[in-house]
């Protein structure tokens, strides 16, 4: 059995007396689309913050591709191959669509800051550095993948909501991750956009990226997930295939309710 992409052991995070995440244990298999669902406040975004290093865990271990992840700084974890989008969209307010994606590329093109500085200073007076051209082409490719290429010079925050979410994904993908954490990518989208997103996420996975998906849209979740973990009040209450989850009484009781078509 090939080693999992992401292995979580006893992961816990407290805020004061309140356990946002309590002793979580889960595995994400390579090449899977793994969904993380649960009512609001169940700890899903906290989980993302812990994996990406934005918050420090109180207890527990995160293993990525067989190696323990302990970097204090999120940028290091991104260099390892873990990327994410944000629940409440954090685009750079004054950058264009193209520049936004190129930010994602920076860490791969210039892992050394001093090289970046040298490249900045020594470029030819009236042209771009070769690297810049390459980054631009990569960025345009990614934007084309998401159908945003024609808007590349628009200000990122001027885009319609659905496009902003796609842009966040493009930016995250620019860092060439092997694990992509998507935080509610379908929030606020209409059914047509959600269907498009469905295809996009699957195609991203087919390019070799393992995906962990936090979502409330059950149709999307059941449709594309290979495996689902259910959280409630920071604790895992179920873990299995979509069919298993749909039949699980604890899950139904805690979360799914009767109105969601299964």
């Amino acid at each position: 059995m090939p080693e999992p992409c992401l292995a979580i052991e006893s992961l816990s995070k407290r805020f004061g007396g309140f356990y946002a995440l309590n002793d979580l244990r889960m595995e994400v298999a390579r090449g899977h689309i793994h969904a993380l669902i649960g009512p609001n406040g169940a700890g899903k975004t906290t989980f993302f913050n812990l994996v990406t290093g934005v918050l420090a865990a109180d207890r527990g271990q995160i293993t990525f591709e067989g190696e323990i992840v302990a970097d204090a700084r999120p940028s290091r974890r991104t260099l390892r191959g873990i990327a994410r989008t944000f629940q409440n969209i954090r685009l750079f307010p004054h950058l264009t669509v193209l520049q936004t994606v190129m930010i994602g590329e920076h860490c791969r093109s210039y892992p050394s800051m001093w090289k970046a500085l040298a490249s900045a200073v020594l470029q030819r007076p009236f042209g771009e550095a070769r690297e810049e051209g390459r980054m631009r082409d990569n960025a345009l490719d990614l934007l084309a993948f998401f159908g945003l290429a024609d808007k590349c010079d628009a200000k990122a925050t001027d885009l319609p909501y659905g496009d902003q979410r796609k842009l966040e994904m493009a930016r995250a993908l620019a860092t060439q991750p092997r694990l992509l954490l998507l935080d509610e990518p379908a929030a606020g989208m209409n059914p047509h956009e959600t269907h498009e997103l469905d295809e996009l996420i699957t195609r991203v996975r087919d390019r070799g990226v393992t995906i962990v998906l936090v979502e409330h849209d059950m149709r999307l979740v059941m449709d594309i997930s290979d495996r689902i973990t259910v959280l409630n009040f920071g604790t895992k209450i179920a873990d299995g295939s979509p069919e298993e989850i749909q039949r699980n009484p604890a899950v139904i009781e805690a979360y799914l309710g009767e109105d969601v078509p299964l």
Binding site: R73, S75, R90, L91, Q99, I103, H106, M113, A120, A174
Partner: protein
């Protein structure tokens, strides 16, 4: 180099304006990553005093002392930059302000650099204008290239959303330190240039009002583009002098044109108001600052104004 072409008075105006421009760029560097520093006057002091000591007590020629003084200021900048990493907003303002004041107090109480009497007899540098012009040109080219580069974009992203930038793999810590140290170094160079032009510095030379003025240069000029510091510093540091010159031109008007009412009243008022006296000119300066922030809070130049300028249009068409 310019001694035959430009008279001494104009030269000193240009030097003063040029040093202001350099100081403005020293603020611009950390500002690009979102760090607002009121400590640049303090770094100028470090550079100025260091250069004075190196030339006067160690006999270094100015050409060698200048980069060394800049480096010393840069190192101090990196040291201050560490605690500044996790501090933002008003706290960073106060930290950098406090740093500047500490430097002042050290200058006041350390007799090696003159103590309360200040540092006298700093060797005069007759080629200051050459240095100033050269350094300004280098800075404009440097920051222009930086703005168009990936590193410059990374700095902007840190300014706009530091956490998002960090999560996208940008090495926020290193880049912020680089920016801060770079700013300090540039300030040190400005301070050294000043010291060898004025030949005297003391603990009150590089004070809070200077630190605040430097901030003003960049914000008024436009903090989002690399031409902003140049324009802001040039306009604001030249402004008091401009007002004085305006008064002289006023006096050139033919008497007949201004002898009758109401022109004579207008003339008298303007002439009296643009009096050589510093205080009145500064009052106008302060009013202009307030008006600028009401009317154009993003500064004179923004990223949108640059493309509309004729030169940029030509360049875009011929690229």
């Amino acid at each position: 180099m310019f001694d035959g072409l430009i008279d001494g008075y104009t030269q000193s105006i240009l030097i003063f304006t040029g040093i202001s421009v350099i100081a403005a760029y020293s603020f611009f560097a950390p500002f690009k990553t979102g760090q607002v520093s009121l400590g640049q006057a303090g770094f100028m002091a470090v550079g100025g005093y260091a250069s004075a000591v190196l030339t006067q007590k160690f006999g270094l020629p100015f050409a060698a002392a200048l980069p060394v003084a800049g480096l010393i200021a840069g190192v101090v900048g990196v040291v201050v930059g560490f605690p500044a990493l996790r501090i933002k907003g008003i706290y960073l303002l106060l930290l950098t302000l406090g740093f500047g004041e500490i430097i002042s107090v050290i200058a006041l109480s350390w007799d090696y650099v003159g103590g309360a009497q200040g540092y006298r007899n700093i060797p005069f540098n007759p080629r200051t204008l050459d240095y100033v012009i050269g350094i300004v040109i280098v800075l404009v080219i440097f920051f222009g290239r930086l703005e168009r580069s990936s590193l410059g974009r990374a700095m902007d992203s840190i300014h706009q959303d530091e956490t998002a930038a960090e999560v996208m793999g940008i090495d926020v810590v290193r880049i912020k330190l680089l920016a801060f140290g770079l700013g300090a170094m540039i300030a040190g160079i400005a301070g050294a240039l000043y010291a060898h032009q004025a030949t005297y510095v003391d603990s009150t030379t590089f004070n809070i009002m200077l630190a605040v003025e430097i901030l003003t240069f960049v914000v008024v000029g436009g903090g989002s583009t690399y031409w902003g510091p140049l324009v802001g510093a040039a306009v604001l540091s030249y402004l008091p002098e401009f007002l004085r010159a305006l008064r002289e031109w006023l006096e050139l008007l033919p008497v007949a044109a201004t002898n009758f009412f109401p022109m004579n009243r207008v003339y008298d008022f303007l002439h009296g108001f643009l009096d050589f006296e510093n205080a009145k000119r500064l009052i106008v300066y302060g009013i202009i600052l307030i008006l600028m922030m009401i009317v154009r809070p993003d500064g004179l130049l923004t990223r949108d104004t640059i493309p509309r300028l004729p030169f940029a249009r030509w360049k875009a068409r011929h690229a």
